[in-house]
Symmetry: C2
Subunit: 205 residues, 2 copies
Amino acid sequence: MTRLRVHSMSISLDGYAAGPRQSLDDPLGVGGERLHEWMFGEATTDPVDRELLDRGRDELGATIMGRHMFGPIRGPWGHDEWRGWWGDDPPFHHPVFVLTHHARAPIEMGGGTTFHFVTDGIHAAWERAAGAAGGLDVWLGGGASTVRQYVRADLVDELHLAIVPILLGDGERLFDDPDGTPTGFEVDLHLTTSAVTHVRLQRRR
Amino acid sequence: MTRLRVHSMSISLDGYAAGPRQSLDDPLGVGGERLHEWMFGEATTDPVDRELLDRGRDELGATIMGRHMFGPIRGPWGHDEWRGWWGDDPPFHHPVFVLTHHARAPIEMGGGTTFHFVTDGIHAAWERAAGAAGGLDVWLGGGASTVRQYVRADLVDELHLAIVPILLGDGERLFDDPDGTPTGFEVDLHLTTSAVTHVRLQRRR
């Protein structure tokens, strides 16, 4: 059965998944790159982190992401020039469903990635992604607000967080619901590497 | 030099240091006892957790706590019957400074613990506690809002968190400043036991 998985999502000790004021110059918000240092650079990445990163990418057949993860543009798309942060050959290699309020034609990129724009909400995006995943799982890429919406709707099957031992001080929180967070998850992986603490939660069904 | 230390303070993955709606029946808020299970019971506590708990209690000469950590009573003290959650022989064995808006005479308990009530703010409490600590450190006991105030005032030298791999869903957040958190800390301990992840931060001075 196709599952919806959050994979190695970085959060700081104070709960931020991105810095404040995302822009073209700061795709992860101001200071947000500190949350992702642990996963870049083959030479510097801890082997356990590397293995967990690689393993989490297995068996993914589609991706869902929020518009802020796709790009810094807000409101209407304008001249359709923006084609994501990732260049001509994005690292997804499968269909990617971008949540937006503004319709746009699909963009076929290199390497098997096609960006589809979904304007009718998170449930519709999940159904389309699950249908396109060919029996594999769907990666819920982010950002924080998108993950939060799916957790709240109880659609997330696996939530794998990488807690970075820093205080970011400001930014976008992963858990920020005034009404609270669904809590019916069980830990099935919990370990600390030289860089981060991995906690993987499975939804009890 | 006397330092102000937060010691093994439990927080959930979603950032809560206590459950919601603290009361006489729920000293840690509803569900909050789940944050503290890892430290109770000699037989069940992981030896590494036990050692870190014991080590963190060394060389403490005084304690500061917020009024909610002292008891569930709000507003004026009434008939002064409340003498803390801990019975006749509290586990502190040194002077304890309770932050409150309502003056009250000190209470001398058994085993060397005396509760002092400080009405003139966090800086005054820190100065009195540091003076009473006899050259040892001061434990900043909690709760969340008290720790947050001291972190914001840049008075905390060491911040040792125990991240419990659960989602609590609701409660009192440790990091909850709209203006952000001071970030000038460095990690000097970061490990996961069978129960929790310890992260100890030292203030850069």
